[in-house]
């Protein structure tokens, strides 16, 4: 069922999808991978972020790019940044 747009409803979502290259999603996955690996996340923990649907950004990247591509990205990022010791 689709609710008709109510123009005077302040909660009406007005965001529109803006065009972005197909590489934008891969770029976002790399940024998440690198920044979180630098924060000390290991491979398992980082993959959990991507697999958890509550984290909509990373999870969408996983859905679009596929499990294998995300695993490769995570492995690459953790390979460089993930060697921090407690």
């Amino acid at each position: 069922m689709t609710k008709p747009v109510e123009y005077d409803d302040p909660m009406e979502l007005i965001g529109v999808e803006l065009p972005a290259g197909s590489e934008a999603m891969r770029e976002m996955a790399y940024v998440l991978g690198e920044e979180f690996a630098r924060l000390g996340f290991d491979e398992t923990r980082l993959l959990r972020v991507f697999r958890n649907p509550f984290y909509t950004g990373p999870h969408r990247a996983l859905r679009v790019l596929g499990e294998q591509a995300v695993e490769e990205i995570v492995a690459e990022c953790v390979g460089i940044w993930g060697r921090r010791k407690e």
């Binding site: 065009p19 999603m25 000390g40 969408r60």
Partner: protein, 421 residues
């Protein structure tokens, strides 16, 4: 109108007053790649400066989701539209970014908000702008991350969050405060000359005893960081936490200290300092000042909407995943180079990025001591070599504030103390 040199535009521009520059300039760098919109900065500012009656709609510091949101609503779209009307298809940059400190981003050929004569009404107006409506001020994060629920089922939430509506495209969080511009539009527009820029640190303030609440500053500031207070009938704005900058906050023990919004940043996206100025308005070379390094040497931090012409002193490391045309509009032509360098940081940049939020004191100088090679490999087909260098931060009087390493140790709180403070 006087002629002043705007180095961010790489050219002379008109401005209502003759150029004068402070000895040092309050400036900051925000790394957008790390902002998670936790709003800690927003609340730190609110609880310090704008918690009183009459200030309810004021958020001197705010974080908005781009491209959906804005505070006040649509602020940047509205001023960009006005600029387009004033000079159709005129927003052009010529020449490429270069090493010239008087034109590092090339030259802007369009008209700034001070140069849009044919759009200015009445004739006495000095700056192109608009006055936001009350509705636009009232809901700072509306239309952004708020889930609207399932269509056709008002008031009901999904039991599993993944079915909530999501932005099926890119977005990022833009944290904003007053840019304490070198050519402030608020100051230019004030008919009472109630707004001034401090000669010692370039902080822009409104003299509350001189202001009569004409709201010309609110209309003129393109970033909409001057705000009107209804119950006192004068305007107010971000004061850059000047008692902290002066070292007069009891906590700072006489040392210059970063603002509340900087200190509260848990994402460690913020670094603020005071840069040395030349007599001609360019930044004096201060190679080992971290802000100077990020803006003029590494060139990873860029001004927000430089085409407005106010020479803002807030700089941003642009988000890597966002389409470049959008970023070029927001941060100018230096975007591609900035992202390229941030993605492939050299030893010095990696070390300087570690300076963010390790201390609340203002860093005046840093030094990098080389450490051992700890990794060699590839990232996205590029060769990467990582060194565990040490970066040392020094304060105003040359005293060491702290030192840290590129491979900083991580301490994980044990489960039984997970929520301890």
């Amino acid at each position: 109108m006087a002629k002043v040199h705007n180095w961010q535009l790489g050219r002379e521009m008109t401005y209502p007053y003759e150029a004068t520059y402070p000895e040092r300039q309050f400036a900051f760098v925000f790394n957008i790649n790390r902002c998670i919109a936790c709003q800690s900065c927003t609340m730190a500012c609110k609880s310090t400066w704008t918690f009183s009656k009459g200030q309810e709609q004021m958020w001197w510091a705010n974080v908005e989701t781009k491209p959906y949101g804005g505070y006040p609503m649509f602020w940047d779209m509205k001023i960009l539209e006005l600029m387009e009307k004033a000079n159709p298809d005129g927003t052009r940059w010529t020449s490429r970014p270069s090493g010239d400190p008087k034109a590092p981003y090339g030259q802007f050929e369009g008209r700034t908000i001070f140069e849009a004569e044919r759009m200015l009404t009445p004739d006495s107006a000095r700056v192109l702008g608009y006055l936001p409506t009350d509705e636009e001020w009232n809901s700072p994060n509306i239309y952004e991350d708020n889930p609207v629920g399932q269509r056709g089922a008002p008031g009901e939430y999904h039991k599993t969050g993944e079915q909530l509506p999501e932005h099926k495209t890119w977005f990022f969080y833009l944290a904003r405060i007053c840019n304490h511009c070198s050519y402030p539009a608020c100051l230019a527009a004030c008919p009472r000359k109630a707004i001034y820029k401090r000669p010692e640190d370039g902080i822009v303030l409104i003299d509350q005893s001189e202001c009569r609440g004409y709201r010309k500053c609110v209309e003129a500031c393109p970033y909409k960081k001057s705000m009107y207070r209804g119950n006192t009938r004068v305007s107010e704005k971000c004061v850059a936490c000047y008692p902290r900058i002066e070292g007069k906050d009891p906590e700072s023990k006489g040392k210059p200290m970063e603002t509340r919004c900087m200190a509260a940043c848990i994402g460690q996206i913020r670094l603020q300092g005071l840069v040395k100025m030349n007599r001609d308005g360019t930044w004096a070379e201060d190679r080992y000042n971290p802000i100077y390094y990020l803006v003029h040497v590494a060139k990873v931090a860029l001004p927000l909407y430089p085409q407005f012409g106010t020479e803002p002193n807030g700089y941003y490391i642009p988000p890597r995943w966002v389409p470049r045309p959008y970023l070029r509009q927001m941060f100018g032509p230096g975007v591609d180079q900035a992202i390229e360098r941030y993605e492939n940081p050299d030893r010095e940049l990696l070390a300087v990025l570690q300076l963010f939020r390790r201390s609340n004191l203002i860093i005046y100088r840093y030094e990098v001591k080389e450490g051992p090679k700890v990794y060699e490999g590839t990232l996205r087909g590029r060769r990467v070599t990582l060194y565990n260098d040490t970066v040392i931060a020094y304060g105003r009087d040359g005293e060491e504030i702290f030192r840290t390493t590129v491979e900083e140790p991580i301490y994980v709180r044990p489960a039984k103390h997970a929520n301890s403070i």
